[in-house]
Symmetry: C2
Subunit: 331 residues, 2 copies
């Protein structure tokens, strides 16, 4: 199993700091979650039903002609490689590591490449897997460029898979509306923008042919009743969505400013996280953890990802911790 962010309880034990005292910046989950109302008892009691209105609401939110709810992007990431004969697969790197892991496990020949090289060498691959904006690097791609890439892949029966888990703050950059095209597969998640990482829910936007194969592979009831219920309401809540976007953008800029002021110029990022290369990232990760601030450490390249603090106290705590670490290093 690969290592992930969000291991607060383990960090709490490791550093002897109670879980409630941590500033957890280890995920890219929004700290301003959509407020889930109390649930009707029936969502626990009854088997979830496909025709509860979730699909229609999701189609409208994502602007996708067809989609399939899945138990988080993770479920789609694991299942998609099982729908192809062994193929040559190019995956963006550094990036969310589960993509390459899942394709390798399904016996595909996988190369991981930085965004520029991946796009330049797309002719080598049957499948190209991008993350947009990339996590943790934050790389962006133009829609025209991606559609042109897709057309080249599709012409030889290939796929372009785009993981848009972090795109909700800038929905115009999404390719969801184009996913009637055979071989264009877009993954969306409600974990990040809606702050509902616990719901384990996302959507695959793709052609009906591909969604049928994926549905058959994933089996019935991929989402729990409580998650279906909450999602349907969250995806329909346009007023909340409209207020969350500027709030997240502002928080992202504040975070980026604090890191920059501490000498940690972000190498990339998006509204929901900032990514900083650092020669001794591991030492910085530990120094922050000793101060009860949990970040996500990457070894290759040595770097830290910072999620958003939930409030001004959190921003100040991060700023002061970075200043303290800097002072220690000089002393």
């Amino acid at each position: 199993m690969l290592e992930h962010g969000g291991r607060l309880l383990r960090a709490a034990r490791q550093y002897g700091i109670p879980a409630s005292d941590w500033l957890d910046l280890s995920t890219g989950v929004s700290p301003f979650p959509w407020p889930v109302p109390e649930l009707p008892a029936s969502v626990w009691h009854r088997l979830p039903e496909d025709d509860d209105g979730l699909i229609e609401t999701a189609r409208a939110y994502y602007g996708a002609p067809d989609l399939l709810p899945v138990a988080g992007s993770q479920a789609a990431i694991q299942a998609l490689p099982q729908l192809r004969v062994p193929s040559r697969v190019g995956v963006i790197a550094p990036g969310y590591a589960e993509h390459a892991h899942a394709w390798r496990r399904a016996w595909h020949e996988v190369a991981t490449l930085p965004a520029g090289e991946l796009l330049a060498q797309a002719h080598r691959f049957d499948v190209v897997v991008l993350i947009h904006p990339n996590n943790p690097g934050g790389e962006r791609f133009g829609s025209a460029q991606l559609l042109e890439l897709h057309a080249r892949l599709a012409a030889r029966g290939g796929w372009l898979v785009v993981d848009e888990a972090f795109i909700d703050v800038e929905p115009d950059a999404s390719l969801c509306a184009e996913t009637a095209r055979e071989g264009l597969i877009v993954l969306r998640s409600v974990g990040k923008f809606f702050g509902m990482a616990g719901a384990r829910a996302g959507f695959v936007c793709a052609s009906p042919l591909l969604l049928d194969a994926l549905r058959e592979r994933l089996g019935p009831w991929t989402l729990s009743g409580p998650s279906r219920h909450a999602l349907r309401l969250a995806l329909a809540d346009k007023a909340w969505q409209a207020s969350a976007r500027p709030r997240l953008r502002a928080a992202g800029e504040r975070l980026s400013g604090i890191l920059r002021a501490a000498g940690l110029e972000p190498a990339g990022g998006c509204a929901l996280f900032q990514w900083c290369r650092h020669a001794d990232a591991r030492a910085l990760h530990k120094a922050l953890a000793r101060r009860g601030i949990l970040t996500r450490l990457f070894d290759t390249p040595a770097s830290l990802r910072f999620g958003l603090p939930a409030d001004e106290a959190g921003f100040l705590r991060l700023r002061d911790a970075l200043a303290g670490i800097h002072a220690e290093a000089i002393a």
Copy 2:
């Protein structure tokens, strides 16, 4: 995708009866669900963590040395066949159809046999899949008989898979405590006894070696945060569990009595459902549906499964509907 019970909304459209007016007996889910309390917001917001105490609580409830939470038995049913090289697999029939379906899809050679034949011909198989008590037939097996069968299979690297989704009313019949034995795999579900079909949650009890392989196959975060939270409380609620068992047994006997009085002698069942063979099961299914009573129809053999009504009004409605259908048939 196979057909399942729990398609109330579709039946509502098909028969022109509002969903709220139906008596839904199409599942084996308990109509006396464990009362889920209001959830803390954090279970939606945060990524679920493995070390939240769920595992320890589940081990105590199931009496299993090791177990893995999964997104319903369904997730385990789909994943287990992927952990073996193509094998000869014997599956109980009639039984929950997803078992045979999942083994076939993973390229195994599958035979479906009635319980007696399956046990008698176990030497033909590398893997034997039982449902205990069986759904819909209700067949029971002694622990000694199953452990002896497991020993024979395990001696040649085989598996005994026992789906105990309906066993919670009679926990002494479970094999969970024996699952340290390599090749003995028991599936449990919280959907039926706890009435939490919407949670999409269950457990696989097996050896650490097998659970490691399954964990790797299923990936991280198989359960949502709300489900983990509710499950941990439900599995620890011994007082509720102790009161639910006699209540379900009594309801099962009442259901069986009503069916018998209507000339539908159950061919099998358990506390949570009764199963009746009927030469014209399809016509009876439709006649009940026209009266707003949804049952589960099986074609092979022609039969109906009746779940439990939630209250006396439901029992009387079923009794009167069966009497009305009988009167129509005579008229």
